[in-house]
């Protein structure tokens, strides 16, 4: 994925966050996009990290959710138990902002295994807080590169729940941001393409999706990153290419 597409992805992700919302920020691209939003249209965005950090404003992009800068700029640091039990479980997190290895048409995420659970072909990192965030945040936004491996017809493992078969649950996945465009979920809880970056075609997106992808009646062409978005993106991403994605 080129740097341009990363920037588009970060900008589109950032725009989905509204000022004053409380967003639980996952590592990688979600971290980049949330920090972008906070520096632009959402200065009072409350960045929450599963490490227990509430309302961080890191001067640089933190390398991980456990960066010492997050602590230094935070409102407070909670024991993880309290964050998950008293803030997340009770609905005080507006947005779960997540990455993942794979996503399916219901917005289920797999970050556990490729292949059978008990003898995996590839053993991934596992849930961390992702399953909890996907279950309890008021909505989730998933940021993930768009290709056939990451958008399979069938997930080997559901780590973080999306929408149940046939219905759309309150909460759960609201949007998926990829390096091709923007997707949401229809009233049946099925993923649907609603926007593409300039130069991306709907059929290209379909080709890189492992199931017959639903497409909104009107697919918008997403506004390219503004010069502000590009500038802030570049400053944030500088020297941090390795950890993102």
């Amino acid at each position: 994925m080129g740097s341009n597409r990363r920037c588009e992805m970060a900008a589109v992700g950032a725009r989905l966050l509204r000022d004053r919302e409380r967003v639980l920020v996952g590592v990688g691209m979600p971290n980049l996009a949330a920090n972008l939003a906070k520096r632009l249209h959402a200065p009072d965005l409350v960045l929450v990290y599963e490490s227990g950090v509430i309302d961080a404003y890191p001067p640089e992009l933190p390398l991980s959710i456990g960066d010492p800068d997050l602590v230094r700029t935070s409102l407070c640091v909670l024991p993880i138990a309290d964050l998950f039990s008293q803030y997340l479980q009770t609905g005080w997190i507006d947005v779960g902002f997540l990455g993942g290895a794979q996503v399916d048409r219901r917005g289920n995420l797999n970050s556990t295994v490729i292949g059978p659970y008990d003898r995996p072909k590839v053993r991934l990192a596992g849930s961390g807080g992702a399953a909890d965030v996907a279950s309890f945040a008021r909505r989730t936004v998933v940021l993930i590169p768009h290709d056939l491996h990451r958008f399979p017809a069938h997930l080997d493992f559901v780590t973080s729940p999306g929408h149940p078969p046939g219905t759309r649950r309150a909460g759960g996945p609201a949007h998926v941001v990829t390096d091709l465009g923007l997707l949401d979920f229809d009233s049946e809880g099925e993923m649907r393409l609603i926007g593409v970056y300039p130069g991306v075609t709907v059929s290209e997106v379909r080709e890189r999706t492992g199931w017959p992808l639903r497409v909104a009646s009107e697919v918008q062409v997403l506004t390219p990153p503004s010069s502000d978005e590009v500038a802030v993106y570049r400053a944030l991403a500088k020297g941090k290419e390795a950890p993102i994605g």
């Binding site: 490490s51 390398l63 959710i65 993880i80 138990a81 961390g128 909890d132």
Partner: protein, 291 residues
């Protein structure tokens, strides 16, 4: 409470087959204890930790573990834990896996001495696969998920400092450190420094554990390297990246363990293997951030 070397603390209190929790969340990871456990050749351990991190990757590579209890086995901000990944794929270690919330709820049950801990159920494959039980509330129709206690035989942790009474002080991200300590049968602590009894009384907001819950204190500066100690030294991010490369190759992994763990006698010897400038840089970086 005894003041012991890391070697003596491990010799006396860590036994084959135990369930260990080497605590510390993203910082304060007790590498000195972990390396000593490798050196002393402990076997058949259950290694419990929400975030296994490089430390458990090294311990797994060294063959000390039969089983890993965890919730996120990644190299933070970088990728996967390669030795862990290989061992699981080869069926060489068993895994017992949770979400963060579930794992920490297990520690809370342990810390409270209760047979289970309640939380809202997760509708995912781990729940289905492991048939997590639920309990019906006697106060209505709701039911909730419950997890069993996790009570490590020994929890080992690193902290900023302790006093001579064994009272332990730390700050910054504490994650699940306190619960992991309170749930344990025994707690071993390494610290950057030890201070006279009573001299830290004005630091009560940073008290993590009173001395009467602590088995031993070991004075071991830099015990958390390559992880960090808030305001004291920064994470050695270069090593976290290096490990990603080293750990992809079993031979390189063994060579690293030979050089940095087996071939040395103690932490001072370990530190002498790192360029002094590198360590000063990490100290410097941590202090820049301190207001």
């Amino acid at each position: 409470m005894d003041v012991l070397t890391v070697r003596e603390a491990v010799r006396r209190h860590v036994e084959d087959g135990q369930n260990l929790y080497l605590a510390g969340f993203t910082h304060l990871i007790p590498f000195a204890f972990g390396h000593e456990i490798i050196r002393q050749g402990r076997r058949h351990l259950t290694l419990s930790r929400a975030t296994p991190d490089l430390l458990y990757d090294q311990m797994i590579a060294a063959g000390v573990a039969d089983r890993v209890v965890f919730s996120y086995a990644g190299n933070p901000g970088i990728g996967l834990l390669q030795a862990f990944r290989r061992a699981v794929q080869a069926g060489e270690v068993e895994v017992e896996e949770y979400s963060h919330f579930e794992l920490i709820a297990r520690l809370e049950a342990g810390a409270a001495g209760l047979p289970f801990w309640p939380l809202r159920a997760l509708d995912n494959d781990l729940t289905r696969l492991r048939a997590r039980p639920r309990v019906k509330s006697p106060y209505g129709d709701e039911d909730v998920a419950v997890v069993p206690p996790l009570c490590p035989d020994v929890t080992l942790l690193h902290a900023h400092c302790a006093d001579e009474d064994g009272n332990v002080y730390a700050w910054g991200l504490l994650g699940e450190v306190r619960e992991a300590a309170l749930a344990a049968r025994k707690v071993l602590v390494s610290v950057e420094e030890i201070r006279p009894a009573g001299s830290l009384r004005n630091q009560r907001d940073h008290l993590v554990l009173p001395g009467f819950r602590v088995e031993s204190i070991s004075v071991e500066p830099w015990a958390a390297h390559p992880s960090y100690v808030q305001d004291v030294y920064d994470r050695d991010q270069d090593f976290y990246l290096e490990w990603d490369r080293i750990s992809r190759d079993p031979a390189a992994t063994s060579a690293w363990l030979e050089r940095f763990v087996y071939d040395i006698v103690d932490r001072a010897a370990y530190l002498s293997l790192w360029p002094p400038e590198r360590l000063s840089r990490l100290r410097e970086a941590a202090r820049i951030g301190v207001q």
